[in-house]
């Protein structure tokens, strides 16, 4: 009985981990990452979009793809970086291929939807599971990330 219970428990835990990992696959994608960095973009200045992407790229170059986990969290006016039609979408795709995660603040998405009359179409590499600030707090306090705001 104990044997079966343990097996089911292990399977449930594994499923939960897979489900969580599908959204935030940092640990799964970067099992050897010794550095974890979350980059915040919340500024309306379009120069900051280029800057945050440059910083992510340089971090990857500096530490190596497998040695660092990078997540860009966008909220407020900075969410435009993760719009589907953003002029930097090619660079976002390139960084996503290197394992960089992109997170879109759900509160900002909802507020922008009110102004636009429809939800903004987001980059397919972006996930949106809740508020951006909450995501940053979780990454920093629970997952050992360092927050950098370029």
């Amino acid at each position: 009985m104990l044997k079966y219970t343990t097996k089911w428990s292990a399977m449930l835990v594994a499923l939960a981990l897979i489900a969580g990992g599908m959204q935030f696959a940092v640990a799964a994608d970067k099992p050897f990452a010794s550095k974890k960095i979350v980059l915040q973009i919340s500024d309306p200045n379009p120069f900051k979009q280029t800057l945050v992407l440059n910083v992510a790229n340089n971090i990857i170059k500096e530490y190596g793809v497998d040695n660092v986990a990078v997540e860009i969290v966008a909220f407020g006016p900075g969410l435009r970086l993760l719009f589907e039609d953003n002029a930097n979408s090619g660079r976002i795709q390139g960084l996503a291929s290197s394992g960089v995660q992109f997170y879109a603040c759900s509160n900002t998405v909802n507020n922008m939807a009110k102004k636009l009359g429809h939800k903004p179409a987001l980059n397919k590499n972006a996930t949106s599971q809740g508020p951006g600030v909450v995501r940053i707090v979780k990454l920093v306090t629970e997952d050992g990330y360092t927050l950098v705001k370029p």
Binding site: K35, P44, P46, T50, E62, F83, T146
Partner: protein, 485 residues
């Protein structure tokens, strides 16, 4: 950990520095000037540039002054624009401030562009304004493959005029750009070709003896209208088209007649690297524009016989067409451009006033009365071409440039009446050097060696010989400081 943080900080600093100097604009003049990076532009980006220069014109005076047809010691090609009063001096030649962006950043499909000229040049000189708006347009990007731009802006045209002037590699335009393409609009009333003749009463009521009898700004390669355009990518190639209709009245912002100008443009470019105005690529392009202009002919035509004007008196419409093609190559510090341009109708023959005919000297009975017609640009033809190249000397801030341009004015002159064949040829060799103080500031030095000629004409002819003036046009030296902000 400390070491790691230092590296992150270093990487960030590098990224910041790189981004600060990168060109973030679109990829070609049509896209660069008409669009913004989607969802990556601000509500308003203020920008502008200043060009200030010092020039010396080394031309000699016309030694035949006093004989018929030789009224001026110094004609406009020997004098500095736009004032045409001296042969050397400092000038704040261009000073433009503008703004561009997306008024509602959440909707990246609408953008605007506004720009004004504050300095002393052909845009602000004619018409007496000290500040002139040159651009004010809105672009709608909702339809894929057919973006729409409406307002005042640069028309899709030849490379020298289409490119942003603040990346231009020379101080002065080629002669074909200056005379054939930089349009001088007809004055609202007929202006006699007799400037600087003391005491003569002009039709426009101004008896002041001076050059510069223009009552409107130059065209500045701009028009007010509506343009449909877009760019298509095919691997490393970019294909761009533009079709535009406009008032055909430059930066005067009104439609002075019921005719619209039509503009067509196509370019195909193999992109090697980079982006923005200094992108490396091989671009081929062709363009055409057509419209009509209304010109005030003399109210009292010259009587029948030799020199009689076959055209109607007073307000008359003339066709104006311009077309051309060219190629531009820019890669690893080496630049090469070649363009050919052709024009029919409204060939400007001034350049001291907006005249499109050459008439014989001599007394007339009353202002507005014509004199014998010697050459006619109203329905005339001209063409021109230029080649130019530049080389950025590796590991230095220096660049050297060279240009050779030719303008053949009134190639059909022999068909017209008069004692002389008034076909003009303007050849200029320009040698230049540029010192890039930084990416936004550069010093440009030019020497222009000009060889101007008219067709066969007795010298000194009773009807005046343009070569008396043209052969004394000499070298011109210039040094210009430009800063973009």
């Amino acid at each position: 950990m400390k070491m790691a943080m230092k590296k992150v900080a270093l990487a960030m600093a590098c990224a910041g520095g790189m981004a600060a100097t990168m060109q973030v604009e679109a990829a070609n003049w049509t896209m660069l000037q008409g669009t913004e990076p989607t969802s990556a532009a601000g509500r308003m980006k203020m920008w502008g540039f200043i060009e200030t220069n010092y020039k010396i014109d080394d031309s000699d005076k016309n030694k035949y002054v006093g004989t018929p047809g030789n009224n001026y010691e110094y004609v406009p090609p020997k004098l500095l624009q736009p004032d045409l009063e001296s042969q050397k001096g400092f000038s704040a030649f261009r000073a433009r401030i503008g703004a561009r962006g997306q008024g509602m950043p959440l909707d990246g499909k609408v953008n605007y562009f506004i720009l004004a000229e504050y300095a002393n040049n052909g845009i602000t000189h004619g018409g007496g304004s000290s500040v002139k708006m040159t651009d004010a347009s809105i672009t709608l990007n909702q339809i894929k493959g057919a973006r729409i731009r409406m307002g005042a802006f640069k028309v899709p045209t030849f490379e020298e005029g289409y490119q942003a002037i603040h990346v231009f590699d020379y101080i002065e335009f080629t002669q074909v750009a200056n005379q054939l393409m930089l349009e001088r609009y007809p004055n609202k009333v007929y202006t006699e070709n007799r400037n600087n003749e003391v005491g003569f009463a002009y039709t426009d009521g101004n008896s002041e003896s001076r050059f510069n009898r223009f009552d409107q700004p130059v065209g500045a390669f701009r028009d007010v209208g509506l343009q449909v355009f877009d760019m298509f990518k095919q691997k490393d190639w970019e294909h761009t088209y533009a079709f535009m209709i406009g008032n055909g009245n430059g930066v005067n912002f009104n439609d002075n007649d019921e005719n619209l100008d039509r503009y067509f443009y196509w370019s195909s470019e193999k992109v090697f690297a980079g982006k923005g105005p200094f992108r490396q690529g091989l671009k081929m392009f062709a363009w055409h524009q057509a419209g009509k202009r209304t010109l005030q002919n003399p109210a009292v035509p010259f009587p029948a016989g030799a020199g009689a004007d076959p055209e109607p008196a007073g307000e008359t419409e003339y066709d104006r067409t311009r077309s051309g093609l060219g190629v531009k190559y820019n890669r690893k510090g080496i630049r090469f451009t070649a363009e050919y341009l052709k024009g029919e109708g409204m060939i400007f023959l001034g350049p001291d006033n907006p005249t499109f005919t050459i008439t014989a000297p001599g007394a007339i009975a009353a202002p507005g009365e014509a004199r014998p017609l010697l050459a006619d640009g109203r329905e005339g033809e001209s063409d021109g071409w230029y080649i130019e190249g530049g080389y950025q000397i590796p590991k230095t801030k220096w660049e050297v440039d060279a240009r050779y341009d030719v303008y053949n004015r009134l190639t059909d002159a022999k068909k017209l009446a008069g004692p002389c064949a008034f076909e003009f040829t303007f050849k200029t060799i320009t040698l230049g050097a540029q010192y890039h103080i930084n990416r936004k500031t550069r010093l440009t030095m030019n020497v222009m060696d000009r060889d101007f000629n008219s067709g066969e004409c007795p010298s000194p002819a009773a009807g005046g010989n343009p070569n008396n003036n043209l052969h004394t046009v000499g070298k011109r030296y210039g040094i210009q400081l430009r800063h973009i902000f």
